[in-house]
Each structure stands twice: as structure tokens, then as C-alpha cells.
Symmetry: C2
Subunit: 294 residues, 2 copies
């Protein structure tokens, strides 16, 4: 199967898995459930589920087991977007080409949507996974929680808010992104590998790959944000610069940022070398992150 067909197939099965995990829209409280579904379904590149499935496939983990952590990670990501878009945070009216949750519904609902999506992520990963020992499944839950909390994603968002208007150096910017986006991307990769009972040294290599991919993702995001129109991006373009947020592009310049992306891609590829062709999808995903135009 070529990469694009594989990617489409994972995106489709992820959509179906999310659809099943989310409460039906006609069950009380119906408006909350509708808003949860609105915020999660029918959009998004599903990069984290793709990474999760690609990492699990190295160790022969079955797709229907990988759907659980893939869904959980995507629900955490979705909750963070709903909360990040709120007026007291980034105050963004558009997300994935449609109105943000707090615009389509209201602020109170958006707050509860984010809260309930986070809970649902842990609920999904706490349901027994066939072929994964309960002890390892507990490790996976701990991994997801560590990646999402105040010393992971939520902490990264706090650092991001605190750095608006500041002149960060490249080290401080990297520290923020390792938390804000890197931690959950790393969790996506490692949770997939755990489903295939990956040994510790393989987890270490994949952790290194994931760290590079996490930064790569952000550098490319900054490049796209500085180059694209809102229409192509599906969210408000140039917003970071307008909000005076530090980005790779305004610290390093566009040319240097692109060089950095090339180096990160190479490092990511190198970290996979020990897995040979089994890691082909992860290899291709690094390329995809660099070459995407949306």
C-alpha cells in the first residue's frame, strides 16, 4: 500500500473509532454531546493517530488494539484545541475551517466540552485492551497522563501564554514546544509501541524519533503560519506574529527555520535506522510533516 492510501485508511478508521468512543448526540446532556462531536469529528489531519499506528505496526500490534490509544491521544489533542481557542486563551474564532466550539456553541459549553473530552480520553484507555497486560496498560495510562498534564502539554500552554511579547531565545522556545506539542506526539508514538510490547531499547529509540518529530512539527507550523493564507490553513493565519508570540521564523528567520526542519527530519530518520523497513511508515510520516501544505 502506498503512503497516501495507508494514511487515508488510518484516518478513516480513526474517524470511526472516535465516532464510537464519543457519546451519541441524542443522549442527555444532548447539547454537550453534540458540541463534543462537533469539536472532534470531521476534521483534523489525525497526525497523532497516524504516529500511533505507524509505531505499533513495527511490533505487529493489531489495528483494532491501536485504535484505543490513537483515540485517547486524539481526544486529548481535541480537548486542548477547544480550550486553547477560548477567549481567555488564544481567542481564535476558527478551527479546522469552521467556527471554534465557543463560537458555534458558547463559552461555558466549550469549557465543559474540553473537560469531558479529556475525561473520555482516559476512559477510552482504561477499557481492557486484549493482548496487552493490565500492568502495561496502567503504564500506558501513566504515560498519557504525564504527557498531558502540567509537566507536559498543559504546562507547555502555560509557558506559551507567559511568553507572549517576550523575546525568547531558541532554547526557551524549544523548551516550550517540547511541552506544548512534543509531549503528546511522543506519547502517541510510545503508546503505539507499547501495544506491540516493545522492549525498553526500542522505546528509547522511538522516544528520540518522537522528540525530533515534535519539534519538526512546530517548526513547519511556524513556517506555514508565516507563508500561508487563512483559507489554506483552515485557521487564522499570521495570528502568532500578530499576537506577538515567539516563533521559529521570527527568531531564526525563514531560511534558517527551513534548514532546521531539514536537519530535524534527518535526525528523525536516523533514529529509525535500527528498525529497517518495519519503520517505513514512521519514516514517511517525517517526510509528510515537512512536505504538507496544510
Amino acid at each position: 500500500m502506498d503512503f497516501l492510501s495507508w494514511m487515508t485508511s488510518i484516518q478513516q478508521r480513526t474517524e470511526a473509532a472516535l465516532e464510537t468512543a464519543l457519546p451519541p448526540a441524542d443522549i442527555a446532556p444532548a447539547r454537550l454531546h453534540q458540541a463534543m462531536r462537533y469539536s472532534v469529528l470531521g476534521g483534523g489531519k489525525r497526525v497523532r493517530p497516524l504516529l500511533c499506528h505507524a509505531a505499533g505496526s513495527i511490533f505487529g500490534a493489531p489495528g483494532d488494539i491501536l485504535d484505543a490509544p490513537a483515540t485517547a491521544v486524539e481526544l486529548i489533542h481535541a480537548y486542548s484545541l477547544v480550550h486553547d481557542d477560548m477567549p481567555c486563551m488564544d481567542d481564535d474564532d476558527m478551527r479546522r475551517g469552521k467556527s471554534s466550539c465557543h463560537v458555534a456553541y458558547d463559552e461555558a459549553t466549550a469549557l465543559l466540552v474540553g473537560d469531558a473530552l479529556q475525561t473520555l480520553a482516559f476512559q477510552r484507555l482504561a477499557a481492557r485492551l486484549a493482548g496487552v497486560s493490565p500492568a502495561r496498560q496502567l503504564e500506558m495510562l501513566a504515560l498519557l497522563a504525564n504527557a498531558s498534564g502540567s509537566r507536559g502539554m498543559a504546562g507547555g500552554q502555560a509557558i506559551d501564554l507567559a511568553s507572549v511579547g517576550l523575546r525568547l531565545d531558541i532554547g526557551a522556545l524549544e523548551f516550550m514546544h517540547i511541552h506544548k506539542t512534543g509531549a503528546l506526539i511522543r506519547a502517541a508514538v510510545l503508546l503505539g509501541a507499547h501495544c506491540g510490547e516493545a522492549p525498553p531499547d526500542a522505546l528509547e529509540r522511538l522516544g528520540h524519533y518522537a522528540n525530533r518529530i515534535g519539534l519538526l512539527f512546530q517548526v513547519v507550523d511556524d513556517i506555514l503560519d508565516s507563508e500561508s493564507s487563512s483559507e489554506t490553513l483552515g485557521k487564522t493565519a499570521g495570528k502568532d506574529a500578530a499576537q506577538n508570540k515567539p516563533t521559529y521564523v521570527n527568531i531564526l528567520g525563514l531560511r534558517e527555520s527551513k534548514a532546521m526542519a531539514g536537519k530535524l527530519r534527518q535526525d528523525a530518520h536516523d533514529a529509525l535506522s535500527c528498525f529497517g523497513v518495519a519503520a517505513a511508515r514512521l519514516h514517511e510520516l517525517a517526510d509528510f510533516i515537512v512536505d504538507r501544505t496544510f
Copy 2:
């Protein structure tokens, strides 16, 4: 040990367990960690930890194992208070006798505090518990998630918001409270029992006790809210009536509400009869919930 000494000892050990579970205030992102600690430590009756320890003690579960679910449930409760107080929700400036988190810090920080406290709850309960099988621990995580999400506590908050200004009947009010406060109180009791490997029929009896206690807690809250001053209550008194929120007192009247509280206490006591003196603390907690003046 008399009830008040026991209660004080559990409150103290809960404070210590929360103190340990929360990230240190000097670790980055320091402001977020300070705000998390501000919102959780040094206040609160710790009713849910008390219920958790009391239920676990029936089956001989050790206190240091019970600290884990007690902490997790209290962190979920604390997160819900931080988010409920925000301007887009109940817009309350006072909590536990001091400024609400979004007043003491800012709205964006309060949003992240709530998010990160929820994550920390699951993180705490995912760490291995000695003497509890991993499979049962996964059940406990699923139980906590079910109680907290859109079909539990967060869903109850959504129903509460939707009912402002409406004339609810007693059935609809009960439906809301079973979700908003009842689900987490039930989780506190059952998680404690799980730590002692309680058998299914005991869990069922305790579930019944917890359902009565959950409603009892809310009826008494409504009575206190209509009778007390803000100073005694440690939060803005008479707020529900001012916001035109349905309460037991304005649906049933004060006299009927007090009669209902008496009936619920009796039902709660009855549900414990099969456990004999082993359930003395749960029995006393039902009395405490009725007789508290704060």
C-alpha cells in the same frame, strides 16, 4: 477513636497526600504549579476522601493505599470547582473563604489549573497500588472516568447551566444532582471499597448508600445556602437563588427539604445495616453531612 478525631486524622493525611501529589511550586511552569497548589491545598472539608477511607476501612484496606483514590477524587472535585467558578460558568469570586483561582491569578491560568488537576487525578490513580491487582486498578480508573465525564459530573454541570431560569420538577432536579455531585461521591465510596477487594454485592449496597448521600449532600447544601451568611459558608451565600437556579428549597420549601434530608439519612443508614459496626464511619458521615453548619 471518636468521629471528630478520626475525621481530623483523615483530613490531615489527605492534605499531606495532596501536597505530595501536586508538583512543587518552584518547578516550571512555576506560576501554574503555584496556582494548582493554591486551588487544592489548605481548605475544603475533604468529604470525598473521608468517604473513600471510611468505605475502604470496612474491608481492611490500608490507609496508604486509600490515599491514592482519595487524592484522585479530591483532585477531580478541585478541578471542577476551579472551572465552575470561572466567569463563563457560575462567575463566583470566592471559594473556601478566599479568592477564586481566576481572581487570584487570571482566567487563562484557572482554565489550565483545572485541566492539569484533572490530568493529575488520573496520573495519581494510574501509579501502581500495592495489594490491588492491575486489572482491578484499571476498573477503578474506568469508574473514576465514568463518574467525572459527560455522563457524570461534567454532564451534571451542563444540565445545571441549561436549567438556570427554568422551573424544574423534583425529578429533573434529582437527575441533575445525581450527575453533578452524586456521581463523584459514589466514585469516592466505591473506589475505597475496591481497595479492599470488596465483593460485587457489597459494592451494590455501598452504591445505594452513596446515591442517598449524594442527594443528601445537595439538599443540605441548598438548605445551608438559603439560611447561612457568606462568612459562615466561605463562599457567596444565597447565590443560587440570586442566579435563579432551581434548588430543593425553592421547589419543596425549607420544611419539606429538611424532612427529605431526614429520610435520605435514614435510607443511607439502612443501606449499611449488612456491614454492622465495620461501617460505623460511613454511618457517622451521613450524620455529619446533615449536621454540619459549614
